[in-house]
């Protein structure tokens, strides 16, 4: 009692600042205690969840392997397979277990091919997991839709295309990316038909992913890309130009020539690069005539084209730009001249008075 009285007196006689410090210290101490208890709780629940995951994973792995090796040659479900499917059907009602089963299936699907891969796909159908993926497509949350499309793509469910097609122009880029990847992964070049209806920009990243996906397949027979070269969506045109270059689409040269007068500068530059790759001689003369009306970037691209397609007749044209104010054009012009008329080029080494130009001439000499 005496002790309490002492504390009480001490508190009331101390200055306000000390009182305030006591209060802050007490609040901090309580907060630390609460956080420590909370941390302990979190750790325990995570550990419990992790143990459960390991337990269920090994259980489902064993069931899956048993299912895969219980089949017969008829392709119909055997009695043990039916029992396993029914057991899994009960488990997938819980989202946690469903997620775990899908991850086990997908882990194995990535590693094995042939009959085994087909059996895993069959297991995905028979257990009803496919219906949950379709349900995800009807979600109001964009991330759930994206995950649903991703799952259907990974399991190669081609009959989902009608349900997925409406997401081609989805406002969220993640959903769009998954949709585009689904189309190309499952239907190869035919899947690119989504470009016909694409109203939103096709990002650089998804373009790279689509091209990478297309190159994975054995069948490299590309469809007609002309409609995409004429698309009103500039990103589709850019993507079609990449296709033209990668798949050497010589037959679209005429369409490419038309694109040289496209309103978008980026496309015009890209077209010149593709024409250089496809040896577009016709484009060379046309661009030479309009050279002064081109933007600087287009002029540089044209000189790169000329570097590839130059003939001795181009010498007067090249000579006119030997001392162009732009470094890149000057360098390209010198390189081209060196290629077509070495004697004339060597002459510049002696006649040029400008120190900067002379340095460049000497630099090109060693290239």
């Amino acid at each position: 009692m005496v002790d309490y009285q002492y504390i009480y007196d001490y508190y009331f006689n101390t200055p306000h600042l000390i009182k305030w410090v006591w209060w802050v210290s007490t609040i901090l101490a309580i907060s630390i205690l609460v956080l420590a208890v909370y941390l302990k709780f979190i750790r325990l629940s995570l550990r419990k969840k992790s143990n459960e995951t390991i337990k269920f994973k090994s259980e489902y792995e064993a069931l899956l392997i048993e299912y895969l090796y219980s089949g017969d040659e008829t392709g119909k479900l055997t009695k043990p397979q039916e029992l396993i499917v029914n057991r899994i059907k009960d488990s997938i009602k819980t989202p946690f277990k469903r997620k775990l089963i899908v991850s086990v299936l997908f882990n194995l699907m990535n590693e094995v091919s042939g009959e085994m891969s087909d059996s895993i796909k069959m297991f995905y159908y028979k257990t009803g997991l496919i219906h949950f993926a379709f349900q995800r497509l009807r979600s109001k949350k964009w991330n759930i839709i994206a995950k649903g499309i991703g799952e259907l793509r990974r399991f190669g469910i081609d009959e989902a295309s009608h349900a997925i097609a409406p997401f081609i122009n989805h406002p969220k880029s993640e959903v769009r990316s998954e949709t585009h990847l689904y189309m190309v992964n499952l239907f190869l070049f035919e899947g690119l038909s989504f470009l016909d209806n694409l109203k939103v920009p096709l990002s650089e990243w998804i373009q790279i992913q689509l091209l990478e996906t297309l190159q994975k397949f054995d069948n490299q027979e590309i469809c007609d890309i002309r409609p995409w070269l004429k698309s009103e969506n500039n990103s589709v045109v850019i993507f079609a130009l990449k296709l033209a270059q990668i798949y050497n689409q010589f037959e679209v040269k005429e369409t490419l020539m038309e694109l040289l007068s496209h309103e978008n500068k980026e496309i015009r530059i890209e077209v010149i690069d593709v024409l250089a790759h496809l040896y577009g001689i016709e484009a060379k003369e046309m661009l030479k005539t309009n050279f002064n009306t081109l933007s600087l970037e287009e002029q540089i691209s044209f000189f790169k084209l000329l570097e590839k397609l130059v003939v001795p007749d181009d010498e007067p044209f090249v000579e006119a730009y030997l001392f162009h104010k732009n470094f890149e054009i000057q360098l390209l012009a010198l390189k081209i001249l060196k290629e077509i008329n070495l004697d004339k080029y060597m002459g510049f080494t002696n006649t040029s008075n400008d120190k900067k130009s002379l340095a460049m001439v000497k630099a090109v000499k060693v290239l």
Partner: protein, 122 residues
């Protein structure tokens, strides 16, 4: 009849289980390692007739397992490596270190059995 021993080093537990099931059905004795370090221990303790190893594994890679087997233990045990797409350079390194065969993922377990039988018959 004495069963032939195979050490399988693979970090994908589902694939390990599948191969274990399949190869045990074929009459082999399987020792499964989840990483390269475990694989090295199993090779030293069990002296297997064949080693199956994934290239990319935690702690000790498949390449280190091959190197340990060929250069430190000086064993001629046949080795088949598993590789994924984009690991072509690693496969070349594996062959330079002494691997006998390779299979690109995804692969068919039936084809693996044929290759194992061929290597063990030599």
């Amino acid at each position: 009849m004495i069963k032939k021993k195979i050490v399988l080093a693979e970090d994908n537990s589902t694939l390990s289980l599948l191969l274990k099931f399949r190869l045990e059905k074929e009459g082999y004795e399987l020792f499964v390692a989840t990483d390269g370090k475990e694989a090295v221990d199993l090779i030293e303790n069990e002296n297997p007739d064949l080693v199956l190893s994934d290239i990319m594994m935690p702690f000790v890679s498949g390449l280190e397992v091959i190197s340990h087997l060929r250069n430190k233990l000086n064993l001629e045990t046949p080795i088949i490596v598993f590789s994924s797409a984009g690991q072509e350079e690693m496969v070349l390194k594996a062959f330079n270190l002494g691997a006998n065969d390779f299979m690109g993922k995804p692969f068919s377990p039936n084809e693996l059995v044929i290759r194992i039988k061929r290597l063990l018959a030599k």
